[in-house]
Amino acid sequence: MADTPIQAEMDVERQKLEADIVCIGFGPATAGFLIELSRHIGGEEGAPPLASRCQPGMPLQVLCYERAEDLGFGVSGVVTRARSIRESLPGLSPADIPLGAAVTSERMVYLLDPVGASRRSRTVRIGDRILRLAGGALGMRDDAWELPWIPGFLHKTGGWVLSMGQFMQWAGMRLMGSGLVQLWPGMPVSRAVLDGQRVVGVQLLDQGTDRQGRPSDGFLPGMEVRAELTVVGDGPVGSVGRQLDERFGRPSRSEAPSDWAVGMKMVVDLPENSPLAPGAVYHTFGYPEPEIFGFMYVHPDRVASLGIFVPSWLNSPVRTAYRCLQHWIQHPYLARRLEGARLRSWGAKTLQESGRRAEPFLVGDGFARIGEGSGSTNVLTGSGVDEAWATGAQLAAGVAELWRAGLPMSRDRLEAAYEQRRRSSWVEREARVAERSRDGFRRGIVRGMLGMALAGWTGGRLWWPGGSRSKPRPIESLESFYRGRLTPEEIDAERRRSQSQGLALHEVLMERAGWPPIPHDGRLLVSHQDALLLGGKVQAPPGYTDHVVYMDPGLCETCGSRLCIEVCSGQALRPGERGVPAFDREKCVHCGACLWSCTRTLPGRPERSNLDFRVGAGGLHSAEN
C-alpha cells in the first residue's frame, strides 16, 4: 500500500520560520480575511495597530501560501451579490476590477435536447413534448424556453459579474501594495504541523523530489512555518482541511461531504457584432443531460465566461465535463449567441455542494477554517464567493479583537470570536434554509427542482426528501447505463480496446449512444489537449512529487468503472498497466474531481477512497478564469 494519506514526514532537518498568522490558500475566503485584517494591522479607524508577538516591535506578521504559481490561477468566473465584498470595500465598483460588470439582466433557460442522445426520464420527456407542442405560445425558440420569471432566491439582482482570476489578482495587488501581509504563490502547503491537539503551523511541500517524493536533484525540504494561528482556506478538496478532519473528526451533526460537482468553464472573446451586453447573466438546465446546469456571464469588452456543472449525482459511469461542455455550447440557443466566438481561457474546479451539512469543526486550538472547505457554499442560491469572503472577514474581525486583547488563539476564544459571529450572520441563516434543498436530486431532476423550490419558498421548512445519505449512491454499471443502446459484448469490446490504446471510454461510448462527433473548428470547439494548452496553459514544474496517488493499486485492478479516468478534467488520468490508472502530473488542472469520483474504498475504512488527492504544484496558468 502507498504512503499515508498526508505526505509522510521525512526524517530531514527542516528550516523553521516564525510568523504570527499563516494562511493556506489564496481564494476569496482568504482574500476577505486578509483585506479585513490588514485594516486592523494598519490601525485604521482609530484603533492601535496590531503588533507582532513573535517579532516584538514589528507589526503583525502574516504570511499566506498559495499552491498555484500565481494568484488567481485556477479559480472561476462568477456572478455574485457581492454583499460581503462591498461591506469590506465600501465604494468599490465592479468597474474598478478588470472584467467586472454590474448585472444588467438575468435569464433562466430550459434547454431541450436537439440531438436525442440525452438520458431523460419519462416525466422529462413528457414535459419536453408538451413544450414543443405549445412552443409558439410559450415563446420557445432554438429548442429552448426562457422561463418567464426567476425565483427570488436565485436572483442576483444588483450583483456583479466577475472573473475570479482577475478579482483575486486585483485583491492580491491591493494587499501586497499595503505592505502589511505577504502572499507567496507557487508554494504548496503539504500539511498542518500539530503539537498534541494544537495546530502550531504548517509544513511546506518538499521541492527537488522525484515522482514518489524521494529526494532528488536540488532537494529542498519543505520549511516549517510556525504561527500562533493557522487559517485554513484551502478549498473544497484541500489536503490540510482533510488532514484536520481525519485528526479531529467531525461535529456530531455534520456528515462527510457527499454532494459535489465539477465546474468546467471557458472564457471566450465575442465577435464585434455580438448582441450580448455586459452584465447579462444566463442560467441553463436540461442539456446535455437534465442534471447538468450551465451558465454564461458577459463581461465588458466583448468577453464572456461560460460553462457547466456536472454533479456527483449525475449517475453516469461515462462523464467527462469537457465532452459535455462541447455539446452544451453547440445547443442552438447558445450557438446562436456564440457564433464567431473564440476560446481564450479554460479551466475546471470542484464545488463542494453539501454546504452546511458537511461543515467541519470551524475552529480548534491554533486554527480556524474559512470558505468553501468550511461548508460555507449556499447550494440553494448557487452562491459561494460571497459566503466565502464573508467567513474570512468574520474571522478577521474576531482575530483582531483577540489579538488586541492579548488573548490566545485557543479553541474556546476562536469559537466566541469567529464561530459565534458566523452563526449570527446571514451566512448561517441562509445556509440553514439551503441545507436540505437539494436532497430531492437524489431521486431525479424533477423532484430535485421541486425540492429547491419548496425549500426556497418556505424558508427551508419544506424540502423533497432524498433518502439515506449515509453512504454514497453506487454508480451504475456501464452495462446497466447503456441497456437498450449497447450490448454487454459491445461494451466489453470497447473496454478492451480503450485499455489497449490507453484511451478513456467516454468518447467512443457516447458516440455509440447517439452523441454526434465534435466538429472541431480550432476556435471554440478545440480538442481537449488544445483546451489544456491553449486555454488553461497547463504545466507543472519539475521536482515535485505526484499529488494523485492510488493507495492500494490492487483495488484499481478489480475496479469495473474507473470513474476517475472518465471524470478527469485534463486527461491526466489514463488507463495504465494492469488496470491501474496512470497519472500525468503535467496535465492535471487540480480540479480534484478524481478524489470524490473514486468508487473504491480502503478495506475497513469506508470513508476513505482509494485515490488520495494531495497538494501539488503547477496546474492552470491563466488568470482570466
Binding site: Q15, D70, Q166, G172, M176, Q182, P185, L534, K537, A623
Partner: protein, 271 residues
C-alpha cells in the same frame, strides 16, 4: 579593509508569462498587447538567467551583493516580485514605467543607467552590470549595450553563457558565436557589462526564507519607485508582428527519443 566582493547590478524587465496567447492591439500611444494588464507576468527570461548567475557568483565571493533594477508598471512589478523574490537574494531598485506598448531602448537605457548611478554606496570599481542579451518582449537587443555606454563601461560582452572569476581576479567569459561555438575572452577585472544568454544554472527552488528577506527591501523600493518617462514618442510604426504560436497535436506512444527528435526536426523544416 577594501572588500573584494562585487557589486552586481542586474537589469531585468517584465514579460508576459510565455504560456499566454498574445494578441496585438492599438493603444493610445501606439501598438500594444490586448489586455496586457490582465496577463500574468514573469521576469524577462534572459534577465532571469543573469539574476540566477549573479546570485550564484555573489554566493561564492564574500562581500558581494546583488541589486535587481527593474522598470515597469508598479503593480505588475509587485506581482512579479511575489515569485522572483523567492528565488535568490537581491535588493530591488524599482522604476515606474509604462504598463505596456513599445519603448525606445535609448530612453529605457537612460533610465536604467540613472537608477544604477543612484544606488547608494555602489563601488564603480567593483561593478558588474548584467542583464539579458536581448528581451523576450519588445526589446531590440541593444538596451544593455546602451546602459554600458551611459555608465562608461568599455568591457562589454553579449550572449554570455559563462562568467568565471580566475585565481588572479580576472574574468574568463564565454560569448555565443555562430554554429554553437563560444568566443573565449579574458578580462582583467571590473567594471564589466554582460548581456547573458542562458548560462548554465537551473531555476532555483522557491525558498520562503529568501522571500521574507527580500521582501524587507522590495516593498519600500516599490513605494519609492521614481517614474521614468520612457515610451516611443515620435516613432512611427509601419508594421508589428507577434511570434506565432503553432500547434500540431498528435498522441503517439512508444516512440524512441530519436524518432521523436526526427519528427520535430522534420516539423521545424516544413516550409
Amino acid at each position: 579593509m577594501t572588500s573584494t566582493g562585487y557589486n552586481i547590478v542586474v537589469c531585468g524587465g517584465l514579460a508576459p508569462d510565455p504560456l499566454q496567447s498574445l494578441e496585438p492591439a492599438m493603444g493610445p500611444s501606439g501598438p500594444a498587447l490586448k489586455n496586457e494588464m490582465m496577463l500574468p507576468v514573469v521576469l524577462d527570461p534572459w534577465a532571469s538567467h543573469a539574476l540566477y548567475e549573479a546570485a550564484h557568483l555573489a554566493g561564492r565571493i564574500p562581500g558581494s551583493k546583488v541589486w535587481l533594477v527593474s522598470l515597469g508598471h508598479r503593480g505588475k512589478l509587485q506581482q512579479m516580485m511575489m515569485t522572483v523574490a523567492q528565488k535568490v537574494p537581491f535588493e530591488l531598485v524599482a522604476i515606474e514605467g509604462a504598463a505596456g506598448g513599445f519603448t525606445d531602448p535609448a530612453e529605457t537605457a537612460a533610465a536604467l543607467a540613472e537608477a544604477i548611478r543612484s544606488i547608494p554606496g555602489l563601488d564603480p570599481a567593483r561593478l558588474l552590470v548584467w542583464g539579458g542579451w536581448e528581451s523576450a518582449t519588445r526589446g531590440a537587443g541593444v538596451t544593455m549595450a546602451l546602459v554600458g555606454e551611459r555608465l562608461g563601461i568599455q568591457d562589454q560582452f553579449q550572449g554570455v553563457d559563462e562568467f568565471k572569476v580566475q585565481p588572479d581576479g580576472s574574468f574568463r567569459i564565454l560569448e555565443r558565436v555562430e554554429g554553437g561555438q563560444h568566443q573565449v575572452s579574458i578580462c582583467t577585472g571590473p567594471p564589466v557589462l554582460a548581456g547573458w544568454a542562458t548560462g548554465s544554472l537551473p531555476e532555483p527552488r522557491n525558498n520562503p526564507q529568501i522571500g521574507m528577506q527580500n521582501m524587507r527591501s522590495v516593498m519600500p523600493a516599490l513605494q519609492k519607485a521614481r517614474t521614468a518617462k520612457v515610451g516611443a514618442e515620435g516613432v512611427r510604426f509601419d508594421r508589428i508582428t507577434l511570434p506565432q504560436q503553432q500547434r500540431a497535436t498528435r498522441v503517439v506512444k512508444d516512440l524512441s527519443p530519436d524518432q521523436i527528435a526526427d519528427e520535430i526536426i522534420g516539423w521545424i523544416r516544413q516550409p
